[in-house]
Symmetry: C2
Subunit: 446 residues, 2 copies
């Protein structure tokens, strides 16, 4: 039986490895258009921060390990171009210019996502970069090595933009961030996003939200990002305004599209076409809180999706319950975390949200070296359900978010959550954990 996989990143290689472990005699073929497979994409900003680390350091498993130790037919430099569901074949072009065509019994589309480039003049100038693939990371590192970069401009203010901001700052580069929409992290409760802004600004980062970018152009000593009332200069411009799913090949094959141009899949990651699955950043998912489709391209879901498809292909049909939208990132010394819905998202999904924001401490009363910790929490007035939480703090925010995340999976009410037996010791929090204080306060509003 032939299990064919398009894409050799998180979802694709997870599926390939697991399928071979499940069923060693299965023919597993992976078509990867680049030369890189199985690397920690999320680790790139941290790697870029350190001039002494090689980008290749992020490779988790070498291609020959997949080939020789695991028996996977891993074909790099193979760009899949066309799926023919009627014939069960995939054709494309290899790096040497030759054409290829493979037939499959089961196909997994794991083509990932690509950075969005704004339609403005200058986006293709030298020194204008994006970051999604290892090769893009490689180019940024090479550029930083070859050029004396003192200033950089980042277009966008999402996770990658913020992580790259810190990475460049660590290399002694002064960073300006700019985006058209007003408000940094618009999904965040305003007090919390204010804390993040302050952290950026106190580290010398220019935060310019609400500036439409008109063009990028060559300047005397590098590049210029021009807005109607603002011009930012730097030797490097990073575009990080988000990603879009690589779903064209699926759409061309007549496969039903899903949310945000992702490929629509059911809980078993099956697309509308027989024997064709999709997983990772190119596929949509069910949001457990709303019960509706969502598209949140993150690493854990990609790995999990790969495993689930491999199990199903090997005869053990596996369904994923869905995601709750948990995410965490670091902004200098701050941990920023969220799970579930914002108040606005809750309203849009038909809930009657009540919302609370509290400020607590990361350690007990008078315990040395404590820091403030902010928690926002959303509940539904009708059902009493917990709908979401956001946290910001210098310590104790990143892992704490997992408690409400689990609560969302099990549809806990705010009342039930407020009674949960969370850990307490003075070095790790107040007796009433900040999450419990938030839940207690939220109850009063519901």
């Amino acid at each position: 039986m032939n299990f064919l996989i398009i894409g050799g990143d998180a979802a694709g290689m997870s599926a390939a490895s697991r399928a071979k472990r499940n069923q060693p005699d299965l023919n597993v073929t992976v078509l990867e258009k680049t030369t890189d497979v199985s690397y920690s994409a999320c680790g790139m900003p941290y790697n870029i921060a350190d001039p002494d680390r090689e980008i290749e350091d992020l490779v988790v498993r070498q291609a020959q390990v997949f080939r020789e130790k695991q028996g996977i037919r891993l074909l790099t430099g193979h760009c899949a171009e066309k799926i023919r569901p009627a014939d069960q074949t995939v054709s494309g072009t290899a790096a040497d210019g030759s054409d290829f065509s493979f037939s499959y019994d089961h196909l997994l589309i794991a083509t990932g996502a690509s950075p969005i480039k704004p339609e403005i003049p200058g986006v293709d100038l030298p020194g204008v970069m994006v970051l999604k693939t290892l090769d893009e990371g490689r180019k940024i590192k090479a550029f930083l090595k070859a050029h004396p970069v003192r200033k950089a401009v980042i277009i966008g203010m999402g996770y990658i933009a913020l992580e790259m901001c810190e990475a460049l700052h660590e290399r002694g580069i002064r960073v300006d961030m700019v985006k058209p929409r007003p408000r940094l992290l618009p999904w965040m409760e305003e007090t919390l996003s204010g804390v993040v802004r302050e952290e950026l600004e106190s580290n010398g980062v220019g935060v310019h939200d609400g500036h439409v970018i008109e063009r990028i152009e060559q300047a005397e000593a590098g590049l210029k990002v021009a807005c109607p009332d603002l011009t930012l200069e730097g030797e490097l411009v990073l575009i990080a305004i988000g990603v879009t799913p690589n779903s064209r090949i699926a759409a061309d094959a007549g496969i039903t599209p899903g949310l945000s141009d992702a490929i629509a899949v059911n809980k078993a990651l099956q697309t509308s076409a027989p024997n064709i699955f999709a997983a990772g950043d190119c596929a949509d998912a069910v949001h457990v809180v709303t019960g509706e489709k969502t598209w949140i391209p993150l690493a854990l879901r990609a790995n999990r999706g790969g495993w689930a498809v491999a199990d199903t292909v090997c005869g053990k049909k596996t369904e994923l319950p869905g995601i709750v939208g948990t995410a965490v990132f670091k902004v200098f010394d701050l941990q920023v975390a969220r799970t579930g819905l914002t108040s606005a998202e809750a309203e849009k999904a038909g809930f009657e949200p009540a919302e609370v924001m509290i400020k607590s401490r990361s350690r007990a009363h008078r315990h040395p070296n404590g820091a403030p910790i902010w928690v926002q929490m959303v509940g539904d007035r009708k059902s009493g359900r917990l709908l979401g939480a956001q946290m910001v703090g210098r310590e104790g925010a990143a892992h704490r978010i997992n408690a409400p995340a689990v609560a969302l999976h099990t549809r806990m009410t705010v009342d039930q959550f407020s009674q949960s037996d969370l850990a307490y010791a003075p070095p790790f929090g107040p007796t009433w954990d900040p999450l419990l204080t938030a839940a207690n306060q939220l109850l009063k509003k519901m």
Copy 2:
């Protein structure tokens, strides 16, 4: 209406404050035998560690605030001695030698727990200390100030013993710990307790488990703790072998006792006697995982119990769902956390436990400054339910434990927990959170 409370610590003062907030015209009287109320008992080891901090620093709210701002009749130096349920009165002796008697409509027994002293010669020698009340903390600090203590012996190896070990070590005191039973932290999976032992020993702490203590005696330069095959010397001996509930006053009044000599209460914290409640370390609780009674004296439950009783007394009957046995503590640079049942406890409770122990990392692949993290997890083969987890690590263990804690409250299966959408970013963990890796491995054994 008279609401009378015996004990002015966590449960008692929480109840008093909340009752007054709920219903300002309620007569709230608190009988506290010591002179201290409302202090952070759990903070004492950390305060003792620092010679420059005053122990009074741990007082959260001064007595006069309760009296003047909150209108609570707070009587310190009042030792309650007898409850007469038939008359609805409590009598006792005040510090000035006078007798008192108060009648109540509702009574809360919040008498806490006391340190257990072993029945061996020498436990009352000067320099032999226990730690539970603020006054005991005060005495330890005064002793350390007055005497040049270079070595100390701690009898016991539980939370308080370990926290005090670190506190004394921070003050430059060499510490030996000793206890009769073999194994440090016997409830812990052996690999994990081995990590804790190594942390203690690498900090120069002597860990002497399996030594029966015969007596404490005066030595030339301090005290000697004598075991059949071991003699430990120190200027200070701390006894920290556990606590026992202060339930005598309840038993004498004919109130039904519960587990471990605690006072038996229902979910509304009601004892067997009409209008008499018990909360805090003197009362038992329901363990959500087993559905059986348990006695785990910890601060959060005490505060929560105080609130619940106050709400019930004020006409809003409130029941607590129970605890899942979550606890966390710090041992030098280690975070040690647990929730739910151990494998042995699970077996005793009638489950068919499967157990797994995994070692993972606190940060992503190749992310700088990561540290090992160990997770033990227990599930039930029959029902598939998650039953408990333990974690040890230099970072990321303390707050992570809250995710399985919430899962236990909602009776999640290991399979469901393994599918939860936990946060991921390279500075905070691997893509597969250590908890998910543990759950995935545990599933294979179930």
